[in-house]
Structures are given as C-alpha cells and as structure tokens.
Subunit: 736 residues, 2 copies
Amino acid sequence: MNPPEIVESLSYIFLPPSYQHCYNKIMEPNNPLYPFFYPQGIVVIGVSRDPTKLGYGLARNLIMSGYPGAVHFVNPRGGTLFDHPIYPDISQIPDPVDLALVFAPPPAVPDTLDACGKRGIKAAVILTGGFRETGSDGAALEEHCLEIARKYSIRLIGPNCVGLVHAHLPADTTFLQPPPPPSGDIAFISHSGAIIAAIVDWMRGQGMGVSHLLSLGNQTDVTETDTLLPVAEDNKTKVITLYLESNRDGLRFIEVAKKASRQKPIIALKVGRFESGRRAAASHTGAMAGSEQALQAAFRRAGVIRAETTVEMFQWARTLAWSPALPGKRIAVLTNAGGPGVTASDALEGNGLQLAILENRTIDELKTFLPLAGSFINPVDMLASATPEQYARSLQILLSDPGVDGVMVITPPPPMHSTGQVAKAIIPVIQTYQKPVIVVLMGDTLIQEAVQHLRAAHIPEFRFPEEAASAFCALNQRRKILDEINLPFLSEPGHDAIKARSILSSSFPGMFLPVDQAVDLANCYGIPTASAKMAKSSDQAVDIAIHCGFPIALKILSPDIPHKSDVGGVILDIQDTYQVKEAYQRIIENVSTKIPTANIEGVQIQKMIPPGQDVIVGVIRDPQFGPLVMFGSGGIEVEGLKDVAFSLAPLTQADLDRLLQSTWAGKKLSGFRNIPAADQEAVRSILIRLGDLATNHPEINEFEINPLRVLTPGSGAVGLDIRVKLVDKPQKEERV
Amino acid sequence: MNPPEIVESLSYIFLPPSYQHCYNKIMEPNNPLYPFFYPQGIVVIGVSRDPTKLGYGLARNLIMSGYPGAVHFVNPRGGTLFDHPIYPDISQIPDPVDLALVFAPPPAVPDTLDACGKRGIKAAVILTGGFRETGSDGAALEEHCLEIARKYSIRLIGPNCVGLVHAHLPADTTFLQPPPPPSGDIAFISHSGAIIAAIVDWMRGQGMGVSHLLSLGNQTDVTETDTLLPVAEDNKTKVITLYLESNRDGLRFIEVAKKASRQKPIIALKVGRFESGRRAAASHTGAMAGSEQALQAAFRRAGVIRAETTVEMFQWARTLAWSPALPGKRIAVLTNAGGPGVTASDALEGNGLQLAILENRTIDELKTFLPLAGSFINPVDMLASATPEQYARSLQILLSDPGVDGVMVITPPPPMHSTGQVAKAIIPVIQTYQKPVIVVLMGDTLIQEAVQHLRAAHIPEFRFPEEAASAFCALNQRRKILDEINLPFLSEPGHDAIKARSILSSSFPGMFLPVDQAVDLANCYGIPTASAKMAKSSDQAVDIAIHCGFPIALKILSPDIPHKSDVGGVILDIQDTYQVKEAYQRIIENVSTKIPTANIEGVQIQKMIPPGQDVIVGVIRDPQFGPLVMFGSGGIEVEGLKDVAFSLAPLTQADLDRLLQSTWAGKKLSGFRNIPAADQEAVRSILIRLGDLATNHPEINEFEINPLRVLTPGSGAVGLDIRVKLVDKPQKEERV
C-alpha cells in the first residue's frame, strides 16, 4: 500500500525477500508471535509415514503448500519422508527452526516442549487433543505445558487445534484433508477446528479464499486478541472473520479489536450459552444486563460486526472484501421482472437500507431506451425482454445518480438472453464506479457462466434478493462503524471525583450504599435527586420541610398500608409551615381511624416533584467488558417491558443517540400524541455523567435511578429513587 | 395412499387410465378447473417455428414433457411443428381439446378467447404480458378478456404468466428454458413468473423436485385460493409452497387453506408493502393493527407456515416433504466435534426447540463404545475419531430414547473417514424410526458423495447447523398447526345479540357510538364497564352517586386543568351522601381558588374502582380477513410500547393462550415480583366475549376498552374507557 515505507521497514529488519509481498505495516521480528506468521524454519514433531495418520497429513500439507522456509521432521523411529530426513531427537535439528508443530500424545507434550525450549524454539502449535476439553486431568496437563512454555518463553497456540494456514507465504501447518484451502483475502480465526475444516471446504464451492487460517483450540496462551493486529496488518487480508466460543480478554479485546477494525472489517460469530449472565442481580439494571448485552456493547465499541449464522459471516466477508465502501444507505434495484424486485424492496427495507429515490434526469434517461411498460420508479423493471446492453446502460445511469449509494442487479434466468452475457456486459460498468454493486443471479445451472465471470472479477453475487439485501446490510454496518469508531468520549465537567471516592471508600465491598450516601454520590456528579426524609413529629416535619423548600408532600410511612392514598395517607402540595403541621395531624388521624391496627413508622416529607416522564438510568459493571450505561422505560415493570438499551461507558455521541433512539422511553421524550415532550437534554447530560461516574469509580458495581423523573423541556430531571451497590472484590479475568 | 377408494373414484368418473397414478381424493371432471390439472387435449395458440421465440419454447416444452393427451398447434401461417400440423384457425382443431395456451399479442387475446369459447374450450392460460401490469389501458383490456371468458364460462389463468407444470401427468405448458423442472413432491403456486423460472433452476442444484408449478400471473380469474385444494388432493404432492404478492380472497382463502393444510403442509412467502395498513385509524387498536398483523393472524388460522425468505421456504418444504412428523420439540444433537455442537445448540434454542435431556440408560449405552473423553450430555460429541459405525450405533440409541423427538446429525469433513461412509451407515437407521433426522454435512467438495446418498434416500441435509435448526423449526410449526387446526371456537353464553343489534342499528355507518350506547353494547355481552357521569350541582352529584353505589370518586371536569389532582380537583373514596355534598363544594372551592380563570364544566362522578392491572382489549375489522381481537399493555402509550397481540375472531383456546402468553401484559396477570396477580380468568372470558361480539356484529369496525382494569383474582375486570366505531359501509373485496 505504501511501498517506500515497506522497503524501509524491510531493510531495517532483514526479512527474507520471499516474504516481502505479505506486509502492509510490518510485523516486527522481535514480536514473540512472529514465528507463527513468518516462520524461518518449521519442525513437525510426531510425523508419521503411514498415510492414514494425521502425523502424515501434517507433513504432507506443509510440503505441498510450497512453504519456502526450512522443513524438519521428528519421530523417534527416524527414516525419511518426502525426501526429508526424520530426526529421532529435537536437539539434532539444524538451523533455521523457529516454529514447532507438536503432534505428540498428550502425556509426551510437556517433555516435547521442554526439548523445544532447550533447542531454542520460541513458538509452538500443539495440535494434539486430550487436554482441558476432556476434564480436570487434561486441564492439569495443559497447565503443566503452559508452565514449561513460560519457563522457556515459548508462545503456544492450541492445544487441541488443527493448525495454521498463511496462504500467501505460503505455509500450511494443518492436517486438514486435501485439497488445500483456496487462497484469497479472508482471514479466519477460530476457536473450533471442526468449523475450520468445514469452512475451508465450503468456501471452495463459493469461490471464496483465505489469507490466514488460525485454529486456536483451547487458547491456553495465544488468544484471538493476540492475533488480530498481525492479521489486520497483512496486506493480503481484506476482512477478518472470528468464530468465538468464549472471550476472556475483555477490555484488551475491545482495545485491540478497535485498532484492527480501523484497518480491516472484522466480523464475528459468537456462540455458546452465557451462564455468567444468570448471576444474581441486585437491581433491575443488573437483571436486564446479561453478558449478551455486554458482548453486544463491546462489539459495537470495538467496531466488530456480529453475524448471526456461519453462512452469513462468510457471505458478509466476501462482500466486504470485494466491494467499495457504501457511501450511504440508498439502494437502487435493477431487475427484469417484478416479483424479484418486490422481494428485493422488502428485504432491503427489512435490513435497514432505503430504496433510493431516483432523480428525474435518471428516469428520463432510462425511458429513452427501455420499454415504457416497464417501471421507472425504483425498483427499475426493464421487463423480461431486457438485453445485456440494456442491463449495462441502465446500471451506468443508476450509478451516475448522486442519490444512489449502491445497486442491486437482479437476473432471473431470462427466457431469451444468457445471464453470462448480462454478467459480461455489466462487469466493466461496475468496475468504473466507486459504489457497491451486488448481483443476484437467480437459479443454478443456467447461471453458472455468470457466476464464474463475476467471481473472477471479484464482484459479489448471490442466488436470491434476500441474501443480497443482507450483504448490503453488512456494508451499511461497516459504514456506520467507520463513522463512529473515531468519535471522542463525552464527559461533563464539574464533578467532584475526590468526594465521590471518599464516599465509596467508606463502605464495604459488595454492600449497598446507605441512601443518603447514594444521594451524595449522585450529587458529586451533578445528578439531582429528590430524596424523602422521615419525620416522627409535626415539629420535625416542619424542620425538614423548611430544609427541603416548599411545596412539599407528606406520606404516611407504614409497612401495613400498601395503598397510602386510599386511607387518606397522602397530602400533596403543602405550601407553608402551618399547612405542614395541619397535614401531619390529619394524616395520622386519617390512618388511625381507618386502620387502627397499622404500625406507623412516621411521615415521609418529600419536595413536590412536578409531573413528567419517568425513565430508568443506571450503570452495571460487566465482569468481562467493564461498566455499561443503561437507559429505558423504568418503573417496577422494567424487567417485563424490556424497553432498555446499554452502551459501554464512557459514551460517545453515537452511543447516546442510540440509547435514546432505540427505546420507546427515549423516543417519547420528544413527545408523542398527548404525551408532552420532556427535558431530553437533561437526560443526555445525566447519561454522560453516569458514564463519567462509571469510568472513574471501579468500586461501583450497580448504580440505578428508577424512576428518573424527566420534567418539561428546560426544567431538568430528578431521581426519585436511587440504589448503589459496590463490587464484591477487585475484578479479575474470567471466562464468559 | 388408499388404493380401493381410488379405484372406486376412478371407475365413477371415467378418467383415462394414464392419469390413474395422480390422485388421492379425486378431482371431479365437472370441476371447472379440471382441464388445468388433467387436460385431455391442449391447443397452443401462437406457436412459432423460430427457436428464438417463446411461441416455439411453449410448443417444445409441451412435446418434450411427454404429455400423454392430444396436442394441437395454432398459427395463422399454418405449417407443421414437431410433426404436428399447425392449424390456421381455432375452429378447425379436432377433439379432444379442453385447455388453450394463449400466446397471442395482447390486442388479439379477446378475439382468441372468443374463438376458444366458440370451439367449446372451457379453460385457458393466457401467457402473454401487457395487461393490468402496464397501466389503465392494459387493465381495461384484461377486464374485456374476463368478460368474454365469462360469456363462454371459460376459466382463465393469467394473463402475464409462464404457464403450468404437472410433473407427474406429465405436462409442461411453460416457455421456461430447458432443462425441464426436476419432478418431485413440492407444489409451487406463484404470482411471479420470474420467481418460478429461478426456483425451477435452483431446485435442480438442491436435489429438490416439483409436482405442480402454477404461475398465476395477474390472477384475473383463477387465484391461489382456487388451486389449493386440487393441489393438496394430488397424492404426488407432499408440500405446497406459495409466493404471494397480494391476497384478495380474504375469508375464502382462510377457509380453503385451512382445509388444504389439514391434508398437506402449506408454506407461504408474502411480499409487498402493506399500503392499506396505513389507513387512518380511529383508535389505538386500529393504529396497531396493520394488514401485516391481519395477514399473520389469517395464516395462523389457516394453518399456513410463513417463511421469511425464498430459500427458507424451499428448505422448509423439502424437510416437510421428506421427514416424518416431529412428535415434540426435544432434539438431540450427534456430532464428532464440539464447535458445531455449540452452534447447533444455540440455533435450536433460537428456533424454539429444546435440547433433549437424555435418559441415563441412553448415556450408559453410549459410554459402552464411545471414547470417554467425549461428551454424553446432549450434544453428544463422539470426538474426531468417530467411525461410521459409531455414528450409526449412537444415532440408533438416541432415536430409541423416548425423551428424544428428533436428531440433528453433524459431520464436519472428518480427518479420517469419508462422510459418504457415514451417510451410508446412518441411512438404514434413519429409515427404521418414525422420528425426523436432519443431517448437517459441513463442507462442499468433501461431502458430495454423502449429499447424493442422502438425497436419494429422501433425507434432508444441510451445510450448517443453523439451517438444520431452522428446518426443525418448520417441523415444529407443522406439529403445532396440526395440534391447533381442529380446535373448536370458544364462545361464552348469555349475550343479548338482539339488543346489541338494535343499539348498533340506531347509529350511522362510520360514526362513533355515543358513550352510553357503547356501555350498553358492552353490557349486552357481559363486559362490565364503569362509566363516569357528570354533575353540575351537588344535588345532582348526590343523585348520581346513589345510582352508582358507594364508594365513589369526584373529579373536576375542565378543559383548562390537565392535572386535576395538583389543584385539589380530585377527591377519592367518598362513602356517603353527606361526603358527596361536602366534596363537591370543596372541589369547586379548591379549583376556583387556585385557577380562578378555569372554565368548569362540572364534576365527574365515578364508582371507585379498586386498584388492579390496566390492559387494553379491543376488536378491529380487517377489510380483508375480518375481525381481529387485540390484547396487550394499554394506557396512552400502547402504540409506543407495542406490547399487543392479535387473533382472528372467534378465538380458539390456542389463540387465547397466545394472546396472553406472547405479551408482557398477559404474563404479568399471573403476578411478577411485587406486582400482585390479577383476575386472568376474567380477561379470558372478556376476550372470548369480544370474539363473539365481533363475529356476530359485522357493523362494528373498532371496539376498544382502554384501560380494562383487571382486579384481584376472582374480582373480575372493569372497562374504564370504551369507544366503538361502526364500519363505513358494507364490506367489499379489496386487494391487500
């Protein structure tokens, strides 16, 4: 991409000339992971001369891949294989050798690693299974391997994996069945080896190819986080795909993935139950935030696109690898039949895209050569008689329309022309414009020629409009990621973090803060709350009322009276000290008359809060990905209604917009029918402050204001109830 | 399926022996659609001898299909084609001829139909385009064709279609490109011809085949509703698929599809914007019920499974065609690798299935021959070394477990054994059990042999676990349909329909009922309401209060006072006439003091309704599919929260359960955290009554109670606000 810089880097680090084609920003040879990506010499430990054994497959794939470095084989029995000597002992291997492929029986792996360490090898892939995945004995063995590796500063990939492929080096260190993986521009990093075996074979049939395959197995040492940047910096890689069964790097994953996704699109498929999401929760905020929400927020922060299915991940990957960036979400559809056009329109809208509104000029131009019985409102239907030339010319006109960001071209098997001819006609047009074009070749036998043409030209093609619409969705997600990934974090000035820290340090880990301290903590961050205080006499009520400021409300406080107003236990809108005294007496009288048996604790005095919209705001700390800010519809039904959204703290402008726009509670703040608008700006400010609070104070586990009463625009918002829970103990890494 | 009955039917209706293999319950020859399905002789009008013309393709396909009846060609130029004479004139065609394929230019079609009518032909397929789809002139021409057809009692399919295929007759009356559609067991009825062309080609690559293809084009006469039963009764058809762009038969579609789906699974893909759903709505119920909801409810009532994408529809169709019925939703997963097993578990749960809990016996048996390092908790992971024999034996053990309703078998490309061998080993096991087994063959090149074996054995196979889970979802939907399709409609006795009719007939179409009449109407159906009455003096307030019964509430009624309680305008829980007088005075005084300028209309008197859960219930009449009953979270935020569900009236037990279980409002009735339970039975009874009301009174367009206050269990529910709107005018058919 930037040749002078590469040359300079190369001269600096003395890379073998055969590797020069692989780099963008170069990986430094003193990076401990360097030998996994650019090995100078590879030893295969545990080769076999029996073609039915995996130890044979490993040797075969390495030789067949055309790996340009040194190849060494080890097996105690000795002999030769593929014209290479088999050394009986690791110590005897000549230079160069910097990567070991370990295919020894599990109990022999620790000694093998020890021998590697003594030979000076600093990187090993353990392909053998039989470790942590089999139970506690296996886990202990794996831990032992890790100890030995650490002793010699060996980095480990695996155990229980199928190996690595660097298609453009080339090097294939897997024991996968031939034929070898097709080479291409998609990197695939996977926790599951079986998925790699399947995907490699499946991609071949789809005309896709890989740049890197990284099978990480049990990830006892190297995780997906470690491998993201080297892969992102490889200039043969256009897109990175991830198959994740777990993620234990948490914040480091977010940080690294964010760097990587600035360079290359990352798509991830995350599978597996989220047991940790079922942990006991102390608040609504806690109950609503499973790890699923945290993961979603983490992927969003990191700029990782999340796929729902394996096929979707790779169809998206191809599209992102082969298409120019989508400048906006207005898509034109070009078809020769009405039905698929309708399907396309539905699917585009369902995938968050818009049907482009064509300029009059565009429509007029199309009308000069298309049959007038066709349709010129997007989707443009050229009718069944459309020729390859009409396809090409119409596509050119649509791509020239400034209101069109991308085009879906649809060709059912036409009764007259071959789709191959259509493909040949449109390819040069597609290559002229910097806008994505996705082609739908409907059918199978009759469209094979067109498929081949388009794949050769690296233009994404699908069988049905729904798949093409989903691919546009991926392009649109990538667009939004690039729009948002460099946004600064928002912060509101004026908080008193020192006082907040002293409040928090005065309480015990794992406990709730007393309510007055919770209120003080909120005040430190400029979050207004209206707390109630209790009076046990009318004089005390007067004192508290004067302190609060009028008007105030009085409410009976008794565990035996669930519906206070039904028994005359609530008096609102009290304006002066005289009324306070009178109201206090009246409430006590009312209640004593109606429920003589009620145990009265006292009378609650609260400043009158004007009516407004009640919402919930909060913070919950995910053990994996850190603090999340929550916003949504509050009240006691918050868990049932599920009208809540989460973002990682601190917030960006995009996060803030999403919290408000993706919830009914947020939309309603602008007013709806006869619900008057409320002070949205106050809510935004409080959410930013909550982000500050969560970021500054890792002692806070959960912080919840429910409800937050949002007053009329300009009048602010007031927390009516608040609860704060501290973390149990210092956070440590755990597996999700 | 039932040979003696078939023979009897055949002898009765004198069908040609060559057709005897096609029937289940026989189609009667006097059915006007009979010639479309079992033509005795076909005339192709507008044949061409030029192989580049569609008129040639039409003749070619008919001849090549091996159609056993008489074939006739017509073209004014005469000559011969495929050894058949070309008649210049329709009148000259010899017997037998009962179906015309019309491929004349649009302006010539009316005369052609006239000639067909004179020749005694009673069925015609108009393949030509250029009618309604091109605008008003085309629509007029189409209307003219229909008039001529009606004059001669000719039934029409089309215009603007690609024709019909009856693969097992055989007969191909399309002009689709060769090769001809693969024959099989899936019927496809489509509004779009282009989709048919594409699907036919695509199915070939998927190993699927068709029994019937019906391209209905503009459906000027014959619609999908007309064709459903003949297709369902054809014993070569196992599943019916529908591609719908519109539906204009409404209630008849529901009735017919319900009959058809009792015999065969029906899967539909409905595309297109729902403009009619955007009609102005007078109530929340109206605003919430788009045609989308009505369509969903109609499909549910008819037992039609709705697919989201084209691929999904046909993948589901193959699964339903080839699998035994799924007895329950507990699925076992059998795999040789962990990763795909995790993916499968996630996908099954996401598709509404459950992971089966294996019996101890099953686990013990598996342990006798599988490696102990594998996993014996479902998913069963046999590890990568699994042999074909282990696959077969494990599958057999899983299928024998009474807690397993179906099995997903997963084979990534194994490093040692071929998937072909695995397929061969498991096929006999699968064929032994009456439980569905879906096989996931991960990969492409390496699994082709297995694909061929499984397709030949009619066992559904997919490339990825997510697709197999989706297929199980289709089987599960079919199970639920068969469970529900014969449920009786619920009705509550004791309503006074005669009085209700007289109330309704006293009002004008399109108007709201006055509130007292709305209350009376609700009373006719035993739906309790608490309406407020207005007093303009304290004496009048006393009279009304006595009529209501104590306790009552008084509220100020003034357009200038939005928040009544803030100004002392509400007094609750009034127990006797003395308190009424006092409260009336106090309210007037309070308000006059605080807002002297307020225009006071009077004071509202309402019986005190105890606290409870507020919900919305209602009825909305869809112009297409009739009345829908609605239930959900009410209040003024009902449109924003969207926590509502709809069912067609009258309701079945399953509808009632779904209304309550699919909404938060419904779940909450059983109590949640500190929200006490409410009278769910009262809500059920009211919903059934609303179904009765909606069914009995087509004059009602919208009927809404919001809120319905649901009291503690056993105490019933009371409507606090009610509005009823009458239909504008008698319903007529319209296109959705």
